[in-house]
Symmetry: C2
Subunit: 296 residues, 2 copies
């Protein structure tokens, strides 16, 4: 159907800025098109506007193409600025039901909340279709209790004159309360997915910066801090490393000798792709047992 | 295929306590069988043992029946004790691939972590298939930033000589840090889903108890505390109320006159079914705008 015809069908206000919609924010889940719910697949088939953002997370290669085949429709990928300006998406809403596909559970990326507000202000209804998310999947895969997760820390790449370190205070506060911390690692269009070894290095630097600003403060992390490092959570090739921070095998320091302790069986190089770090707070007996069993 | 034949196919140890499996914990998501991922549906069709627990959350009426039709297989519902004893499920693993279906994202219920540990101890591989969860969906629907969620509070029914009040300290700690709190409300086989009005009443009592034990402590909640109350999150009939605590329209106090403020348009009685309360901490401008727009 041509755009003009669709606009006619959608009613007199359509295509002229009158409210039509609705707008759907549809979660893509953790891995690929196999994580999109049946409810969402049905809905996507009825939308006149179909967009996807892929900058808040990375999907597996070919996800959108296979999803297009599944729903028999084209999906237009949008860059960060195109999503944040809201114009393209809201203009499409004036022609009929429109969906923005978002990796994970769609509202965990804060920018999408303002899109919903903007739609509502125009008189366009907005709905969310949920999917699996790193926020519950990572603690679940590590065997940490979701109830004991504190605020989330986001670790971004340090650049010249841009060295954000506020995340270390979040970790410190969580640890003081015995809470666990999910650390999300930067995904940069140029630098790619931050590796856990890079994140741990930035954590060290942030800790030093904090100490410098306030020498009275105790260090946040110690060599013995229990960590979980997870790659490709919810993907068929998910990988977990668990152990004390000092034993993380890809930290630039010399590799451990085989058989000398945790992670001796780890692959020779640090895996690529999306990863997160979980910093364990005060672990319950069952959580600690699980950490130990993964450490072996 | 008969059990004996399956056991034969599965290898010499099968049916005699030897490790077979794998065990899959499969998320049912927020609402019904339409939230189960395509990846999980494919997998369920290959399992020789299929179980479901339905005590950590409530699914929509008929969910399991419709899921059975979709996969062409029978699913056996298990009570809490049957799941927690682990025997039925681990015995089934000795005959082949076995799945336990769990509402939401499966590992958010802490009891299932010990099932995975027990499976691994028997040499049975365990995998998680993730799905949508109240932990990300509720803040998302309320427009609260997931990064600012503190520890989760669970409010259970108070009974004679059993008045758990530790949750109020969690709320207090979160508020002191500016963090938001997700309050999960009890689901009891006899009492049913706790209503938000009941939860708010228990919150008041817990606050009084806390004050009594330590008179120096400031009250945790005030009449002006901003709340979000959400029913049926992720269901097609999801409902949200937002406003100050004192304006919650179903608190047993006389109902507000129509037109006298927030929630005047609310239905005459408190909705039934699963509900959660979000207690907002320090709201960002966009979060507050959203709260205000929902309050109108």
């Amino acid at each position: 159907m041509e755009k003009k015809e669709r606009a006619k069908q959608a009613g007199p206000g359509a295509g002229k800025g009158g409210p039509v919609g609705p707008l759907f924010l549809v979660g893509l889940g953790l891995c690929d098109e196999q994580d999109v719910s049946a409810r969402s697949i049905e809905l996507l088939r009825t939308c006149t506007g179909l967009f996807a953002e892929s900058y808040t997370n990375l999907m597996r290669e070919g996800t959108l193409r296979r999803l297009e085949e599944k729903i028999g429709r084209k999906i237009k990928p949008l860059g960060r600025e195109e999503v944040e300006s809201e114009k393209i998406i809201l203009d499409a809403c004036s022609l009929g039901p429109t969906a923005l596909l978002v990796p994970g559970d769609p509202m965990t990326a804060t920018t999408h909340s303002s899109l919903i507000t903007a739609a509502k202000e125009k008189g366009i209804e907005a709905h969310i279709l949920h999917a699996s998310s790193i926020f519950t999947a990572a603690p679940g895969a590590a065997g940490l209790q979701i109830y004991k997760m504190g605020k989330t820390a986001t670790i971004t790449y340090w650049r010249k004159n841009y060295e954000p370190a506020a995340f270390i205070d979040i970790v410190a506060e969580n640890l003081a309360r015995g809470a666990h911390t999910l650390c999300l690692l930067d995904i940069d269009p140029e630098m790619g997915c931050m590796k856990p070894s890079q994140a741990l290095e930035i954590m060290e630097k942030a800790q030093e910066k904090r100490k410098k600003e306030n020498p009275a403060l105790a260090p946040v992390l110690s060599p013995a801090t229990p960590l979980f490092v997870l790659w490709h959570v919810g993907w068929p090739d998910q990988k977990i490393w668990a152990g004390k921070k000092e034993h993380y095998p890809y930290s630039g320091r010399p590799q451990k000798e085989p058989g000398s302790g945790p992670a001796a069986s780890a692959p020779s190089r640090e895996p690529d792709g999306p990863a997160v770090i979980l910093i364990a707070g005060k672990m319950h007996f069952a959580e600690e047992e699980n950490w130990k069993s993964l450490s072996r």
